[in-house]
Amino acid sequence: MENLIEELKSKIIAGFSLEGVSPSDIQTDEPLFGVGLGLDSIDALELVAILEQDYGIIIQERQVADKAFASVQALAEFVAANRKPCSSESQS
C-alpha cells in the first residue's frame, strides 16, 4: 500500500503540473479537491482518465469518484480494490 501511495502522489504531481511540490509535501489524508491540494473540476476528470489508463479502472458515476478522491489514502484504497490485473503498473 505504501508504494501505491507514493506512486499516486507522483502521478498527481506530474498529472496536474504541480510545480515545486514533492511527494512528501502531500499529506496522505488531506483533501485533494477544494481545500487541501486545491485541484479543480477538470483535474477531477483528469484523475478519472489516469485511473482508466494506468490502472484499468472505469468510473461511471460521480458518487464513486467523490468518495475515491477524498484523499490520497482513499484513492489508494480504491485503486487497490479495483485495479485490473492486466494494467501496466506494477503491483504493490
Partner: protein, 231 residues
C-alpha cells in the same frame, strides 16, 4: 481615421527574447543549445517575467509561447481601464498551430490537455490574463511569416471594431515531438518563434512607431533587434 501605430513589439525565438525597448536578450547558457535545436520544454515564465505565472505550468507549448510573447510586450494592460481593454482585440496567425499538443493528446488523451488541441486557445489564455474582450480571429497559414495577422487587425481598427489589437505569430512545435511522430514536414520552415505586435490609434506616446503591413515576424525581429532606447 489616422493610420494605426505600433504601440509595442515583442519577440521570442532561437536568437533570444525581448521587446522594442529592451532589445533581444540571450537565453541562459543552460537552455540555449536545446532552444537552438528547437527543443522547447525548458521554456519557463520566469525567464521573461517576475509576475505571478498563474496557470502557466498547466498550459501547452503554444499557449506558453504566446503568453510569454504577450507578457514581453510590457504593454501595461493591467493599468488600462476596463472600457479600453474591452476594445482590444486578439488576432493570431500560425502555421504549426496546436500540432505539438495534438500529437501528445493522440498518444495520451487527457481531459486537461484537450482544450489545448486548438490553435485558438492561446487567444483565450491571453484574454483571460489581461482581461481583453475585443474581436478575435485565428488564422492558420501556409507559411510561418505572419503576413496576415496585422493586416486583419488594421482593418478592425479602420472599421472601428477595435481600439487596439494584439497580433500574435506563434510557431510552437517541438522538433523532437514532430520528428518522433513522423511529421518533420509539418515543422515551420524557419524554426520556432512567438512574436507579438500591439497596434492601435496614435496617442503620441514615446514608444509609438508607424505601422506598415508586412510579415509580423520580420517587423518584430527588426524592432526588437534595434530597440528605441528611452530618452
Amino acid at each position: 481615421m489616422n493610420p494605426p501605430a505600433i504601440l509595442a513589439a515583442s519577440y521570442l525565438g532561437p536568437e533570444g527574447h525581448g521587446n522594442d525597448l529592451t532589445g533581444l536578450r540571450a537565453w541562459p547558457a543552460s537552455l540555449n543549445e536545446a532552444l537552438q535545436r528547437g527543443e522547447l520544454d525548458g521554456l519557463h515564465w520566469s525567464l521573461v517575467s517576475d509576475s505571478d505565472p498563474s496557470r502557466f505550468a498547466r498550459m501547452d507549448l503554444m499557449c506558453r509561447l504566446g503568453l510569454m510573447a504577450a507578457e514581453l510586450l510590457d504593454a501595461g494592460f493591467d493599468a488600462m481601464p476596463e472600457a479600453r481593454r474591452e476594445r482590444i482585440g486578439v488576432c493570431v496567425e500560425t502555421f504549426a498551430g496546436s500540432l505539438d499538443t495534438d500529437i501528445r493528446f493522440a498518444q495520451t488523451p487527457r481531459p486537461s490537455i484537450f482544450a489545448y488541441t486548438l490553435p485558438s486557445t492561446v487567444i483565450g489564455e491571453i484574454c483571460i490574463r489581461y482581461r481583453l474582450k475585443g474581436p478575435v480571429l485565428c488564422l492558420v497559414s501556409a507559411d510561418a511569416a505572419g503576413n496576415n495577422a496585422a493586416v486583419e487587425a488594421a482593418e478592425w481598427l479602420k472599421l472601428g471594431d477595435a481600439g487596439a489589437c494584439l497580433c500574435l505569430s506563434c510557431e510552437a512545435l517541438d522538433r523532437k515531438t514532430a520528428v518522433a511522430a513522423g511529421l518533420p514536414g509539418h515543422l515551420p520552415p524557419d524554426g520556432w518563434h512567438a512574436c507579438a505586435l500591439l497596434i492601435g490609434g496614435r496617442e503620441g506616446a514615446p514608444r509609438e512607431r508607424p505601422f506598415a503591413a508586412g510579415s509580423l515576424v520580420e517587423i518584430c525581429r527588426k524592432l526588437c533587434s534595434k530597440p528605441k532606447r528611452a530618452c
